[in-house]
Amino acid sequence: MSTSSLTPDEITAIRKALDTYLWPEAAAVDALYIVQQRHGWVDDAKLEAVAGVLGLSPAYLDSLATFYPLLHRKPVGRKVIRYCDSVSCWLMGSDRLAASLRERLGIGEGETTSDGAYTLLPHPCLGACHQAPVAMVADRLLTGLDPADPDTLLEEGDGN
């Protein structure tokens, strides 16, 4: 099986993850995260290549990848915005925040803007309920958001 769609670094990192567990399936989520880091999502070629390194079938690996919302099997925008839509954030106005994001971006939940800049996703409780409403942009958590102000989230990470 071809591993050419993986970089040597990625292959090394996956092999290292393999050492942590008793059998190769257990390293699957780690391996998918490693590959997702570079492009934001895992395409078919890379899924097959990872399966090859782990010695698993691509179908098996896909059954895992599609179970987990943090692993993407479809392209995502350069910035993935996950706003918390669980109860404490809802109590503090997360549906208004979601509406202002949808309006500002002109897309619905689960969609990506046509220029590929943003993907908007609802997400379960981010574990910062006392600072509601909250959202994550890439790996960064933003708290105490103003539901009427989508721009703080859209601009997160710019100019860094």
């Binding site: 987990y68 109590l91 379960p124 574990g127």
Partner: protein, 418 residues
């Protein structure tokens, strides 16, 4: 004596306590002490301290450990840091602010059951917490606290971090085992219990992260001190949180058995101006609502159970009078329906059905029959009727809402009847 063993060392600036600071505050003394004892005596000390699991079910920790067979062979100790129950934000704080406490606790738990490998299972969103733990782990290895000879003793231990792909079901302990093994994370049938046949088929203990953080202090300061911390029969402090329209939402380490009133009115500073308390969930999204008349109930495992709810995670979610309780329940059921793992029919079909009925009610498309349908759903997904506790947990807020906020449901139902 210390009254806030879990959070007492937290730095004001929010950064993680360093190894040096941790050492200076008695850090790793508990592990040192454990290593000088027979593992059975470590278990006994924890039993005597009456530590009950902080993951939601309140199972006595020492007793759980005692089910692990004493026979030789691989065993595993797992720290559950999946924390995905909506409204809950305690384990994150413990990882980010005092990561060595987690590592010391995990090492003590592993030693007590004879495990030489431990995993800390972290939800995928907690990247910063993972970073703090990884850094602390690296330090611990460097200092000989972990590895082939733990603190120079004849005991080997490796601790690994695992970042989950993010599903609520992964926090259920048998689904967690499948997740760690790289299987589709659906729960397993019990028996066999994980203590007998768990991770990779070997004896395994899964404990909540807050539970584990108590261990160093029980070792270091003893059961008597630990029991004196609480206001009830069980030992220790508890991290209590409050979210919703209060003046100072937050997280506090208080005596186990502190009343909801003290937490809401004193710690959280009461309701925001213009908001009035209607009800609260005492311990996360899967706990039954309680009313203002329950404010003086001590929030310990048995007292909350006695009034028909559960202590759960100890993180309170506050409902005010301005907010519609039916819509709040709809929000909760939307979460549970989305997170159902799909393995058993009552939950896979019942939760989306419940969500749809509620959505219709709220949209004015419901009728009185819908309320009976909801009641039926509660029966279908009662404890014992589903493969794991996710579905019964989902029904808890619904059943208490139907009881306490009947008139709100009726009002919606009336809209569609004509």
């Amino acid at each position: 004596m210390e009254t806030k063993p879990l959070t007492g060392r937290f730095r004001e600036d929010g950064r993680a306590v360093s190894l040096k600071e941790y050492h200076a505050a008695g850090g790793y003394d508990g592990l040192m002490m454990a290593l000088s004892m027979h593992p059975d005596n470590v278990q006994k000390r924890v039993q005597d301290a009456r530590l009950r699991g902080r993951g939601g079910a309140g199972f006595p920790t020492g007793l759980k450990w005692s089910f692990v067979p004493r026979t030789p062979g691989d065993k595993y100790f797992i720290v559950n840091a999946d924390e995905m129950e909506p409204g809950t934000f305690k384990d994150r704080e413990l990882m980010e602010r005092d990561p060595h406490q987690v590592i010391e606790g995990a090492a003590i738990g592993a030693y007590a059951i004879g495990a030489h490998t431990a995993y800390i299972f972290i939800r995928g969103e907690y990247r910063y917490a993972e970073k703090c733990l990884q850094q602390a782990l690296d330090e611990a290895y460097l200092q000989g606290i972990l590895g082939k000879r733990v603190m120079g003793r004849d005991y080997a231990l490796d601790i690994h971090l695992h970042l989950s792909g993010g599903r609520y079901i992964c926090g259920e302990e048998t689904a967690l085992l499948n997740a760690l093994e790289g299987k589709r994370p659906i729960p397993r049938a019990k028996p066999p219990f994980p203590q007998v046949a768990g991770l990779f088929g070997q004896p395994t203990v899964v404990n909540n992260l807050e539970t584990v953080c108590n261990l160093p202090h029980i070792m270091r300061l003893g059961p008597e001190w630990y029991l004196s911390l609480s206001r009830c029969e069980d030992g220790g402090t508890k991290l209590y949180g409050v979210s919703g329209p209060v003046n100072r939402p937050g997280l506090w380490e208080l005596q186990l058995g502190t009343t909801a009133r003290e937490i809401l009115e004193i710690q959280a500073g009461g309701m925001r101006p213009g908001h009035e308390l209607r009800a609260f969930q005492p311990g996360g999204a899967s706990t039954d609502f309680l009313l203002p008349e329950h404010l003086d109930v001590p929030l310990d495992f048995d007292s909350v159970m006695a009034v028909g709810s559960r202590l759960g995670t100890g993180c309170l979610i506050v409902l005010d009078r301005q907010t519609c309780p039916v819509k709040m329940v709809l929000n909760l059921e939307t979460f549970f329906a989305r997170e159902s793992c799909g393995w058993c029919t009552p939950c896979r079909d019942g939760l989306p059905y419940t969500e749809t009925v509620l959505r219709d009610l709220v949209a004015g498309r419901g009728c009185h029959e819908d309320l009976e349908l909801l009641q039926e759903m509660i029966q279908w997904m009662a404890p014992g009727n589903t493969f794991c506790a996710l579905a019964p947990g989902a029904m808890a807020p619904l059943q208490s809402a139907l009881r306490y906020f009947r008139e709100d449901f009726e009002r919606y139902a009336g809209k569609g009847d004509g």
